[in-house]
């Protein structure tokens, strides 16, 4: 469904992705793990059109999409839930959700999706008229996820959805990610919490300094000794 072939991306003179290839099949949950600065977020930003690749190909259902504008990518059904939540702080919760549905024109569908989001995240309904900047970190993450889903995507990309959240909220976020996937969406998730990411996903890619260094099922990567040493550590398993 989504395929990156030998994609290279640079910020100025710094090359952030060096010939990355990866693939997502319909309905899969795929994790991208790796240390800070490995290029995970860059990969997502390149897919969503915020960054343009220097070389390589990105295809969606076989059609090339590299170099398209973010809105054109979104129109094709790829939503990007960015790192750090990035809710619009001075817009109300309801307005933030409306931003998620900006490109849709089916007002009845938008209204019913809004109700569905409120049913799934009751806290957002309680705070519908409140400025998003006044929400707690966990609530903001729920809002960011709901906002991404409001575009009715086929693929949703989550960038570090657990970052900076309390452990019980992290659990909630991961269960939502699984729920979204069970509903038939394809999910690409970037996570620093490698243990959680690998246990949730069907397949995963391990990135190091702009390259994909390992690929496999979640279980395979969980069991590989180099992943365990570098990203999981003894403590994660002991816990």
């Amino acid at each position: 469904m989504l395929r990156l072939e030998d994609v290279t991306v640079a910020y100025g003179r710094v090359t952030a992705l060096k010939g990355v290839s990866l693939e997502l099949r319909e309905g899969e949950l795929v994790s991208l793990i790796g240390a800070n600065g490995a290029g995970k977020s860059t990969a997502l930003k390149t897919v969503s059109g915020l960054l343009r690749p220097l070389s390589g190909r990105i295809t969606w259902d076989g059609e090339p999409i590299s170099g398209l504008l973010p809105r054109e990518i979104l129109q094709r059904g790829i939503a990007h839930c960015p790192e750090g939540r990035r809710v619009f702080p001075h817009l109300s919760v309801r307005e933030n959700l409306a931003m998620g549905a900006l490109l849709r024109t089916d007002s009845a569908g938008i209204a019913s999706d809004l109700e569905a989001m409120y049913a799934r995240f009751p806290r957002l309904k309680e705070r519908a008229a409140q400025a998003a900047g006044t929400l707690s970190g966990g609530e903001q993450q729920m809002l960011a996820i709901a906002r991404a889903l409001m575009s009715r995507p086929r693929l949703v990309m989550f960038d570090e959805p657990s970052l900076g959240l309390a452990p019980n909220i992290v659990e909630q976020v991961f269960s939502i990610v699984q729920e979204v996937r069970r509903e038939g969406l394809t999910v690409l998730m970037v996570e620093q919490n490698a243990l959680a990411a690998l246990s949730l996903c069907d397949r995963a890619y391990l990135m190091e300094t702009g390259r994909v260094v390992r690929a496999g099922t979640g279980t395979e990567l969980l069991e590989s000794s180099d992943v365990r040493e570098a990203y999981l550590g003894g403590r994660a398993f002991a816990a």
Binding site: R71, F88, H90, E95, L102, L103
Partner: protein
Amino acid sequence: MDQALQHLVNGTVLGGTYALLGIGLTLIFGVMRVVNFTHGELYAFGAYMAYGLVSLLGLNFYLSLLLAALLGAALGAVIERVLLRPLRGADIDSVMLAMIGAALVLQNASMWAWGGVAKLVPSPFDGMPLVFGPVSVLPLRLFVLGVAVALLLAFWFLLDRTRAGIAMRATFQDPETAALMGVRVAWVGTATFAIGSGLAAAAGALLGPVFMVSPTMGDLVGLKAFAIVILGGLGNLPGAVIGGFALGYVEEFGGGFLSTEYRDAFGFLLIILVLAIRPQGLVAAKERVG
């Protein structure tokens, strides 16, 4: 007391157009982070367009005001596309210099096109004031206030209640995430500058029949627009409305009770006071649009 009431009425009329001038400028700053030195010139442009359409082309007065505002918006869109878009990401000094240059070009162009003699836009309102007890007001001025308030309300509705307005505010808060939601960020820049410019031109066209229209009128008006925006807090829209009315009242009461010659100075005295005591502006708790 009667005299104070009269000044209150006059100050309200003046404040309405000042508010239009202020929200245009503060919107452009809030959304685009551009200090728009052409604002006063767009006001002058609106006034001259109204003059040209009414006096030279003989068009209907109301239609001319509408067209003058739209032409102002169009000129704003051109300035944004030609000057500001190529400078996106440039440092603030370069952008300011470009805008100062554009203001000089606009002012000299209107000098060249219209000559140095002041003009007055003829209006269909007669010169007999309406008298309400101790207060009298010219019908033309009531019309100006009515249109200014209607424009302020329309603008508030656009920004607060429509999808386009939400997208505009979202872009101001986080352009990259707004792009992820499907906003054409570059278009928002053009639309914002056009709307701000259109409001300035509308203010100029509205006051064209009240005050004389001259090529250098944009200088003082531009300064006043900055005064209004500073009073309300940079980028603060309700603040700009309050700042606009505050400036109108201060000028009117200062001019009426203290000194007519120093009328224009009172506003600037007020700014010095506000900057000394409350540098974030009269209303601003924090910087925001909407």
